[in-house]
Symmetry: C2
Subunit: 200 residues, 2 copies
């Protein structure tokens, strides 16, 4: 493939192709775009990557990624210590933050229990979660885990483990998404939304 | 958006989102993947970008990108100096090379004539092309330009400009692509393939 491009460009294409959302063909297009826009794209992206590599670390409290440890959320005094939201990954934490309505703390599990993939509790940050729940400040743990089999298995497991601590354990509501047309919803969601119906 | 991620990560996401094929959402996913795979993805990609920035330059002969100037193709003694293939962009050159059947030299125009976008001949490497065609070694100029309005306008313009040099000017054949089902082809291609029919 494009042996004419020289090993440096080939290596760049191969690495760009590994990014989620890019393949060999779009990786090549991305490499070309970078090489064409040296000053506006290649140089700033290189600097940003060097920066990220040097500065971004995992928060020792919640497991999120930030340039400071503890991260900006963990060290934000305005946030509510009583609410602890458990998410699968940093991406889910960012999604919650974009929602903008949660003002408590987070705990990033680092994955989900999965019998198929052989992921057990010891591979996740479960011990740290129990430690924080027992710490005394937390009064409610909100399990914001995906509505998948693995997500629900993990939620049930965590609820069991958290029960002895006495904190209340809740999970995100299931139902019709905002802007969701019933025609396009799967049967499971409709059934759950019907079961959890509320006064209009 | 994800203000919690810190300015360094936000900058990385914004820059990744500018790559062709990535948007704000996939840019975020790419940034997360990079930060999670520090040693296998972030570090090598950073090194590759630093390398590309330092070493890759535009070939002064053909206009392609390579780490040497003249590029590997221009300095390859085994290639045929009599054949000169004109392409729009470096991406088209790479596509021709993947085909693997062309063993002549290239000339990268750097774009196409476009009345709509206000691209005139002076914005393209037309003068350099005429210079190479007049050089004496070239006997045939192959116009490998896209089968679009701008591509064909540019091809006609170049054919006119090249006529006084006496070199023969050809262009890629139009027809049914390999593996192409007639059902899926547009009428224009079928008409051209019919006009250019040949003995079976």
């Amino acid at each position: 493939m494009a042996a004419s491009a020289g090993p440096e460009i080939e290596r760049l294409i191969a690495l760009l192709s590994k990014l989620p959302g890019l393949g060999p063909r779009s990786g090549r297009r991305a490499a070309l775009a970078l090489l064409k826009k040296r000053d506006t794209l290649l140089a700033p992206l290189t600097a940003a990557l060097v920066d990220a590599q040097a500065k971004v670390r995992t928060c020792s409290v919640c497991g999120s990624l930030d340039t400071s440890d503890p991260c900006a959320i963990c060290s934000d005094a305005a946030r509510d210590n009583r609410l602890l939201c458990v998410v699968e990954e940093v991406g889910s934490l960012w999604a919650m933050e974009r929602g903008g309505s949660f003002k408590g703390r987070y705990h990033v599990l680092g994955g989900l229990l999965s019998a198929l993939d052989g992921v057990g509790p010891e591979a996740l940050r479960v011990g740290e979660l129990l430690g924080r729940a027992k710490g005394g400040e937390v009064s409610e743990v909100i399990l914001a885990l995906p509505a998948t089999v693995d997500g629900q298995t993990t939620a049930h497991y965590l609820a069991d483990r958290l029960a002895p601590t006495g904190v209340s354990v809740t999970m995100l509501a299931r139902g019709v998404p905002v802007g969701g047309d019933l025609d396009w919803l799967d049967d499971g969601t409709i059934a759950q939304a019907l079961r959890a119906r509320r006064p209009a």
